[in-house]
């Protein structure tokens, strides 16, 4: 996903160059200032275009729900809106900006939808109500089933316009959970907004540890469906699968290199787990970390030069960082307890992991050099574990477990705000956040 984002950034820069007045972020929100000013924004009801009696109804709510998740906006409730948006507002008629200002909105989102056969066409615009200027406008076309992802895309545009950082709406979380029919575990995927939960595997076996490829097109995971564990790569578009690690006993994928060429995995032979990287095409394997103890759970850094991993060489499992191809390895988890499941932030500056404190598991983050350890979340009577960063590094998904109960939760990286993503599935765990969309 690096290239599309890079290209999009290029397009924005170009637009800045050509339209310094129109595209300049006049209303900048500092995302690194917790408790800072929130942008008062109104999402107007959509104009109803030809062939669209109902398509557009739900879109303002999807946009509003997305924006509410960021905690960056104050949404002006629809009951306060006074102006009805019509098709004319998309062909030159100006909005009544003083009216929107009067109800407290400093920014206004309008949209219209049209349907032709099995295609829908949706246009959305974000205005600065104070200046009366268009900040960003997009026209999308797709199938009715893609309306949610179209709305998520424009919500990302809105967040990008105000913060300079792309939103993560439309991204998804893969995880494993017991499936109803058998005692096995299957892989599931759910939208980061908690919608569109669906099952990926269905083979009455154990399917574990889903890991996304950098382009979001493949999922690597461990399955016991032949009786013993193998790592498979599943293509989302074709449903095709291939077995990529053809050696060793127990094996679990850790993560892909940023260029998608290598899959890092912990592979056991004779009871001793080492870390390998395996070429996704061809299957050539290289040992990356080896030693007397268990070495497992590799998480590559976003620049591809390092990995965070777990080793119990010191007597208990701890998190280490190593530069690929060198011999030095630095321990970054503290204490004598039990630290596992590192997840390197896509922004590069933090590594999240699980550690046992006060008899329970909690989620911590630490700088890659081992400094500045912070507890993100813990529960007095339960366990918080298996963190995975969002593509923007601003939040984490993790597993909460208490006796037989389990749920997946999303928490801001500073630990200030959290919400439940999935509950009600038995033994949900190992969540992995998809790359950006």
């Amino acid at each position: 996903m690096r290239r599309p984002i890079g290209a999009a950034a290029g397009a924005v820069l170009l637009a800045l160059f050509l339209f310094p007045s129109a595209a300049y972020p006049l209303l900048y929100i500092d995302i690194n200032a917790p408790g800072g000013k929130r942008m008062p924004l109104a999402v107007a009801d959509f104009a109803i275009g030809p062939g669209d009696p109902s398509l557009s109804r739900g879109i303002p709510k999807i946009l509003s729900d997305d924006l509410a998740l960021t905690d960056l906006f104050d949404l002006v409730p629809p009951t306060a809106h006074m102006e009805t948006v019509t098709a004319a507002h998309f062909s030159g008629k100006p909005l009544s900006f003083p009216g929107w200002k009067m109800i407290g909105a400093e920014a206004v989102v309008i949209g219209k939808a049209e349907a032709q056969g099995d295609r829908v066409s949706i246009e959305m615009r974000l205005y600065d109500a104070t200046q009366g200027t268009l900040l960003v406008g997009k026209r999308y076309s797709g199938t009715p089933r893609q309306i949610r992802s179209i709305a998520h895309r424009f919500a990302n545009e809105i967040v990008y316009t105000f913060t300079g950082v792309r939103g993560v709406f439309g991204t998804e979380i893969a995880f494993s959970a017991r499936s109803g029919k058998s005692k096995g575990k299957d892989l599931y995927i759910v939208g980061m907004d908690g919608q569109d939960l669906r099952k990926v595997t269905d083979n009455r076996s154990f399917n574990l540890f889903p890991r996304w490829s950098p382009d979001g097109q493949w999922l690597a995971y461990t399955s016991f469906r032949t009786g013993s564990p193998s790592i498979y790569l599943r293509n989302f578009t074709t449903g095709a699968e291939k077995d990529v690690v053809r050696f060793g006993g127990t094996k679990a994928p850790g993560g892909f290199s940023p260029d998608g060429v290598w899959l890092y995995a912990g592979v056991s032979e004779g009871g001793n787990s080492d870390i390998y990287r395996v070429r996704v095409v061809g299957g050539t394997a290289e040992k990356v970390v080896e030693g007397w103890g268990l070495d497992l759970s590799p998480s590559p850094s976003p620049d591809g030069r390092k990995i965070a991993f777990v080793s119990d060489r010191g007597g208990s499992p701890q998190v280490y960082v190593k530069s690929i191809g060198t011999s030095g390895e630095t321990r970054i988890s503290q204490g004598s307890g039990y630290a596992t499941s590192p997840s390197w932030s896509p922004t590069g500056d933090r590594i999240a992991y699980t550690a046992r404190v006060r008899g329970h598991f909690a989620v911590f983050t630490v700088a890659p050099d081992g400094s500045d350890t912070r507890e993100v979340v813990s529960a007095p009577d339960g366990d918080c574990e298996d963190p995975s960063f969002a593509p923007d590094g601003r939040s984490l998904v993790y597993t909460y477990r208490k006796r037989g109960y389990s749920s997946l939760k999303i928490i801001s990286s500073d630990g200030r705000r959290q919400r439940t993503l999935v509950s009600g599935l038995d033994d949900a765990g190992s969540p992995a956040w998809s790359p950006g969309r």
Partner: protein, 199 residues
Amino acid sequence: MKGTFPWKRAAVALFVAVFVVAGCAKKQTVKTDEGAAGAGTGVPAGSAPGPGDLKEASVKEGPTGTSPADQVASATTATAAGVSVTEEKASQFDDVRFDFDKSVVREDGRKTCQVVADYMKKNPRAKLLIEGHCDERGTAEYNLALGERRAVAVKNYLVSLGVPKAGLSSVSFGKERPLDPGHDEGAWAKNRRAHFVLK
């Protein structure tokens, strides 16, 4: 916008933006052929776009038209049949139990191993699978590796008692298949185990 909108510049910007977006869409659709393993650069990139393409284009003030844009392929779900590994198979041997986060075969476990070793030596054609299991505490990945180490510790101990390696195999189920579904030390102690299955 007022009537002074620079249409020419807008058209140029739109054209260039579309060009940039289209260029990136091209890069996204690197073909990956399942059958061509061993060739290519190894990028597990997106495959050819499906029928339900989503298109996007920038719009400026005024009337709008359609433009080419990048494409998004939707996910599919597939199923595959599996070998059942989710049910506990009854064993004529006791389980070998372990301490928390340990894979050392304890004194009680050694007695069980002696019984197993005697049987295997009397039945040289028998095939024995040793399953390693863990309790529910800790992350699933670490427990999978720990379960393997437990199974291999038992296997090595049987070999030290004179059982030929050829009849022994091992697999770890980590914490995925607890014997006791409880959530207390009594259940955990039963679940940290090596389980024997004659094949």
